[in-house]
Symmetry: C2
Subunit: 201 residues, 2 copies
């Protein structure tokens, strides 16, 4: 893509995020996004086929950033156990990014869940994170800090903890210090997965 | 309430659940619910002030049932650790009840998140479960099977694991055996909370 085209695409993405956050996914129209971005409908449709497509692009950019953060944590930590706990510590940043957008996400998911084909594209990033975390768990097993017979199931548990805390934090931001809960929960889970504790069946 | 009045209320609740599941929360109208239930609008409004109220009643009945199941698990288990793992095993039943209703819940939450006052009534049951689980964790500490400085935070972690697995299971029911993941995750978390393992800070 040429520089100017990339800039237009980014302008549309930023405007769409503003409109979705302000009006909600259902109420925000392509016309509103174009007005906010200061571009023509022609320019919009040159970059995105539908309102759904622009939302997916926003979601993907957010997840790509999350993905590179996760990889950085794993690369810079001394072991996987420590990386998982450090990652839990980044929940605060996720909250501040996701906060206020709960309504937008809920509407988008509700909208997408009506169409099985669309739904597959919506959950694709989730599968990606499942694989990413299964790889991280396998690395922990290989280095000898984690113990599990089923790295995929363990990855799902780690993700469940993250998703569950994120959702509780979005539902009710002020009830507790969610980033502290995230770190302590991950410490507990990692302790349960640790290969150095005694085994009581 | 008189017997006939209770029956009418239950008929409306069952009809509303059918309509919400079929059409979604936004699209289902009070007229559609009345037609499905075979009652007049007068009868509907005698029992429920709004469509929102009938949804809240459905949610509350579901949560009351869940609450009594949780209490039964705690009462019948030998200790809290075992009760938590047994509870995770009941996730299968939650999936079959919640499955297919994801769209309805998402729409309802999206709808409710626009109004802070309504939102408080929607998250009230969640606070109830938080307290219920904080009490269960305290019981585990008192009996000597669990170790935590912060029972509320630990309760949030247990709930996060449940909510995260429930959400993943609803998003993508067929990708794995979610009830198995639930039991294994809870075993790991409980192991991390166990007072008998060695402490590595």
């Amino acid at each position: 893509m040429q520089q100017r085209s990339i800039e237009t695409r980014n302008t549309i993405l930023a405007a769409a995020l503003t409109c979705f956050s302000r009006s909600g996914y259902d109420a925000a129209s392509v016309a509103e996004i174009c007005a906010e971005a200061g571009v023509s409908k022609g320019a919009f449709y040159h970059h995105f086929a539908t309102k759904h497509a622009v939302f997916m692009a926003i979601l993907e950019e957010w997840l790509t950033r999350l993905d590179s953060q996760v990889t950085t944590y794993v690369e810079s930590a001394t072991d996987v156990s420590q990386a998982l706990v450090s990652m839990a510590g980044m929940m605060g940043g996720i909250f501040s990014e996701a906060g206020g957008r709960l309504n937008m996400f809920l509407e988008f998911w509700a909208h997408s869940s009506r169409d099985p084909q669309v739904w597959q594209t919506v959950i694709a990033p989730y599968h990606h994170f499942e694989e990413l975390f299964a790889g991280i768990i396998q690395r922990g097993v290989a280095e000898g800090t984690l113990q599990t017979d089923d790295p995929e199931a363990t990855a799902s548990a780690v993700l469940a903890l993250g998703i569950g805390i994120l959702l509780q934090g979005l539902l009710d931001p002020k009830s507790t210090a969610w980033d502290k809960v995230a770190v302590e929960s991950m410490q507990t889970l990692v302790k349960g997965l640790s290969s150095t504790v005694s085994h009581n069946k």
